[in-house]
Symmetry: C2
Subunit: 427 residues, 2 copies
């Protein structure tokens, strides 16, 4: 386009994958097609009432807050990590940003070194690197390894680079978007051996930590405290994605990175919206009601995720049992011959055909850095009214919820999955 002077790093980028699927869904709905969305990964749950009440109470707060964040909020975030992970953060170790996505972007902007992450990874790590023009590397993982990074793969990658002193950041996200799997303590311990050997900084993206389905999330920071930055926020476990507040917790000896990010923050977003910061204090402080909200969130996600998993597993779809968060990541490779006869060779073609023939909207694994021929889809099981589901769950005892809960409380997920299963059966 004449006169369109766009930074080449950005010209090559498409709008984010989750955005694209939303627009596609909107189009189809306009044509009166029935769509079952498994696309955007937004929490289905409401923001806890106590937290909303704090926003109401602080609605008139209008002052610019400190770049690093409201002191009281940083105290409560530090205390939150110390409570959940037995760590020793204090307010000065915490940085508040308008979403952890923005904070990860600023890290990529401020840090000088190599950024590595496993493939598959969350959709935005790589485009962020592209925008900045960073040197990044994917380390492939595989289905047998639950799509998680193994110590062997990390060691192989680092030793192949033949530059043991290279400055590196590894971004690790668990419970995982897009997979739904997470690391055991043993697996984290094995990783830490390699991380120590190569002196690698870790950004531990634990935004789904409190949505571990059994409440058993374990942070790598406990094993590798001096080099781990914990990334978190209120978008997932607290239902407040649209509020835009993320947090980074830095170990003391990464102060230089925190300080660099503060400078960049002061010239970009300045500080996070004041009323939102005041409200978030309550979210991180927690309360008996918020604990209850979490317990019910976890068991609801567990029953829905496992029901979806079972249905697909029974049909020889390669899929990892969900452990946390709200995603499954099925691979259709066992159907590749049948799919090829339908002209489907890539995961994009797979996602598009399923959408057109069943109305089920998923994201192709390609968007997460996977080989398109692996025929993987990411499905978010969040298309239900979380507030109603929690109210219903509260009326039931605390044993695992029955499978009937899925049909009753998440009818669109139920119907969408049946459509998908039916489509598979007819292949």
């Amino acid at each position: 386009m004449k006169g369109a002077n766009i930074n080449l790093n950005i010209r090559s980028l498409k709008p984010s994958a989750t955005l694209a699927i939303n627009e596609r869904i909107a189009e189809l709905k306009k044509q009166n097609k029935e769509v079952y969305s498994f696309g955007l990964g937004q929490s289905p749950f409401h923001v806890p009432k106590e937290v909303v009440n704090e926003l109401i109470k602080h609605a008139a707060e209008k002052d610019y807050l400190p770049v690093q964040g409201l002191l009281k909020l940083r105290e409560s975030v530090a205390e939150f990590h110390n409570r959940h992970n037995h760590l020793k953060f204090s307010a000065e170790n915490i940085l508040i940003g308008p979403g952890s996505k923005e904070l990860i972007f600023l890290t990529q902007l401020v840090y000088y070194g190599e950024i590595i992450f496993p493939a598959p990874s969350w959709v935005s790590y790589h485009p962020q690197a592209k925008i900045i023009g960073n040197n990044v590397h994917f380390i492939p993982t595989n289905y047998k390894g639950r799509w998680l990074l193994s110590a062997e793969d990390l060691e192989a990658f680092c030793s192949a680079e033949n530059d043991p002193d290279k400055p590196r950041i590894l971004i690790l996200n668990y419970p995982s978007n897009p997979v739904g799997s997470t690391y055991s303590i043993r697996e984290l311990e094995e990783l830490v051996v390699v991380l120590k050997k190569y002196n690698i900084i870790v950004i531990s993206d634990e935004i789904y930590g409190l949505l571990h389905h059994k409440g058993e999330h374990h942070s790598i920071a406990t094993l590798y405290p001096k080099k781990t930055i914990i990334s978190s926020g209120i978008s997932k476990w607290c239902g407040a994605g649209g509020w835009r507040l993320g947090t980074f917790a830095f170990p003391k000896n990464l102060d230089w990175l925190l300080n660099g990010m503060k400078v960049a923050a002061s010239e970009t977003f300045t500080s996070v919206s004041a009323p939102i910061q005041y409200a978030a204090v309550k979210a991180f402080e927690g309360s008996p009601d918020i604990d209850l909200y979490l317990v019910h969130s976890q068991r609801i996600l567990s029953v829905i995720g496992n029901w979806c998993y079972q249905l697909l597993k029974e049909r020889q779809i390669r899929i990892i049992k969900p452990e946390g968060g709200f995603y499954i990541f099925p691979s259709f490779r066992n159907y590749s011959a049948k799919l090829k006869r339908k002209g489907i060779v890539t995961c994009k073609e797979l996602a598009e055909t399923i959408l057109m023939e069943t109305g089920v909207a998923c994201l192709p694994g390609e968007d997460f850095g996977l080989d398109p021929k692996l025929l993987v889809l990411r499905m978010a099981y969040v298309n239900f009214n979380g507030e109603n589901a929690i109210n219903q769950s509260m009326k039931m005892n605390l044993d695992p919820l029955p499978d009937s809960f899925v049909k009753d409380q998440s009818p669109l997920i139920y119907q969408g999955m049946l459509k998908l299963i039916n489509w598979i059966d007819r292949l």
Copy 2:
């Protein structure tokens, strides 16, 4: 520092100047020193009650909003510009960001070309360019030209570059931070002749537009609609700096830039906080009460600004009569011989000495891109309770407010100015 791998573009940056002065003030206050702050440029006024009420009403909004911004908000921003400047924007021309600072940063990131701005300019344009590694140029202005960019200077700059087709963005801020002056229609017309000749895109930073003291702000977009992006927000005229919401209004034929920025936004801040966006709809829609709030804001700033101006003018300080916003920009050059005897040669030394000897805190002109030897300071006259001042102003008739209003309603500004004048008199 060993292991501190910081992008060299950021390593060289200091924390922003306004931030630094705040920390300095906090230090002195800890030592029980009396400080009269003329540092940070934060609106002294409250957020209008109707707008706060909308935030309360929408506190539970938790969904991620579209990257470009809530449709209803974009409609009201378009309508706002059309109403105030007789333009023809519609919702699709508007982009909402977490502060116009962030949007200006994204423009610098996305655009490929030269960024130019007058010196003095707002503190963040240049560090943003440094962070990104952009090719930027200051065009010097001078006291006689009211520190505004003249058509002649712009022509001289462009013709000296000897590259008439070079892609360029000019960032123009008026009413001006740091000066308080603004462009007449005639001056804008003259600029437009040169802008057209070189086909330059303008970012017209009109964040202080509604704080023109006579309510007579005129946008360059009316004269140069096809190439002007209007930058605005709710931080200044609406008192909501801490809420973090800025707006860009693009002409249709700069869609390529808007689209590039949307891609960058989707990989960084994602979208602006949902409750804040819902509340801002009311701010841009306006109401009779908001109009009244504005009229009183304008006349209060006018009486205080002019009182400060007069005091300094009477002492042969070189200073421009305030026309809008809440800054004055005095030059102490007429005192340079006397100051030299005190060992003061630069504006930083001047600011530091005044702070230590009188408690009056100002920013040095150097932070705005000026030669330190010009001995210029930026003073923000906002250190008063705006809500009380408006309530008081409402009880008085609509003639200009009397000078006694300054002493009654902004005692710290009154006392600080007297201390400063006394200090000058004793030079």
